[in-house]
Amino acid sequence: MLKENEIKVGDTHSSVLVEDLKRTQIVQYAGASGDYNPLHTDEIFTTQIAGYPSVFAHGMLSMGLTGTMLTDYVGDGALKKYGVRFTNQVWPGDTLTGKATIIEIRQEDDGKVVDLMIETTNQDNVSVITGNATAKIES
C-alpha cells in the first residue's frame, strides 16, 4: 500500500503492459473471462462479416492489463474504485503503456485515499483507455 508521506500530487507510475500483443493472448483472455465474441478471436468472421481489418482485443483485456499496472503501484486489495472508458480499439501487434497520475490525496470516512488518473496509450501514442481510480493508502 502507498504511504502518505512518500507520495504527492503529480506523482506518476507507468509501465509497459504488453509488447507486440499476440492473437493468442486475446484467445487466452477469451478463455479466462468467458467472453468468446468471435470479433476477438475469429479472423474470418471479423473481416468478412463484421467488416473490421482484423480481430481486436476485448476492451476488458486492455482494462485488465491496465489493472496490473495499477495494483503493482497501489498494492493488493487497496483499490476502492477503478473505472475506464475505451477510447480506441487495441489490435494484435500493439504495444501498450499504462500510466497512473496522483491527482488528489484526501480523507474518507474510513481512512486516507488517493485519487488517480489513468491513461493507457499504444505505440503511436494514441490513447486506448482513459479512467480513474481511488485507492486506500497508509497515513
Binding site: 468478412q48 486489495g77 473505472g83
Partner: protein
C-alpha cells in the same frame, strides 16, 4: 442477467491473472498469499467480468453442440445469435461494443467466495459520431454479493451499438 452461483476459485484466478499479464504471486501462490494482509489468494480488480462463465445462457459462449453460434466454421458465419441474454458482469459485448466499465470495491474478493450477481438496466442515451454513425449507449449495473449476503463489488458497464463498424 442473474447469476445464482459464481464460484471464485484459485485456479480460475490463476488463469485470469495470466491472461492480463499479471505475475503477482498473490493470484497463484497460496503459501505467499497466506503471509499477506488478505490471508489468502485474492482476485485481480477486473476478475468479476469472468462471471460470464457462470451465466448458463451467456450468448457469447458457443453452446455445447455448437448450435446457434455465429462465428465461422467452414463458412464465415454460422447462425445468428439466438437471443439477447447475458451481460457478462455488467454490460459490454452483449450490447455491441464495450464503451465504459466501472468497478466499485466494497470488500476484497477472495478465492473461496461464492457470489451471486443481479443486473439492472441503468441510463441509455444516443450520440452521433463520425467514426461509426449513430451510437446507442446503454448502461447496466451488476451487484455481486458473497455467501454472507455482503455486497462485494458493484460493476457498471456501458455498451454501445454502432450503426457500422468503427473506422480506425
Amino acid at each position: 442477467m442473474a447469476i445464482d452461483k459464481f464460484l471464485v476459485e484459485a485456479s480460475h484466478i490463476m488463469m485470469f491473472a495470466r491472461s492480463v499479464g499479471d505475475a503477482n504471486p498473490i493470484y497463484h501462490d497460496e503459501e505467499y498469499a497466506k503471509g499477506t494482509d488478505s490471508g489468502g489468494i485474492i482476485a485481480p480488480p477486473t476478475f468479476a467480468q469472468s462471471s460470464a462463465q457462470f451465466d448458463p445462457d451467456y450468448f457469447l459462449r458457443p453452446k455445447i453442440g455448437g448450435e446457434g453460434w455465429f462465428g465461422s466454421g467452414k463458412e464465415a458465419t454460422g447462425s445468428k445469435p439466438s437471443k439477447d441474454s447475458g451481460g457478462g458482469g455488467g454490460g459490454g459485448a452483449a450490447m455491441g461494443l464495450h464503451a465504459e466499465q466501472h468497478f466499485e470495491y466494497h470488500m476484497t474478493l477472495k478465492a473461496g467466495d461464492v457470489l451471486t450477481a443481479t443486473t439492472k438496466p441503468g441510463n441509455s442515451w444516443e450520440k452521433e459520431s463520425k467514426r461509426a454513425g449513430k451510437l446507442k449507449f446503454s448502461e447496466s449495473v451488476t451487484e455481486y454479493r458473497n455467501q454472507d449476503g455482503e455486497l462485494v463489488i458493484t460493476a457498471t458497464g456501458v455498451g454501445v451499438q454502432t450503426e457500422r463498424a468503427v473506422d480506425s
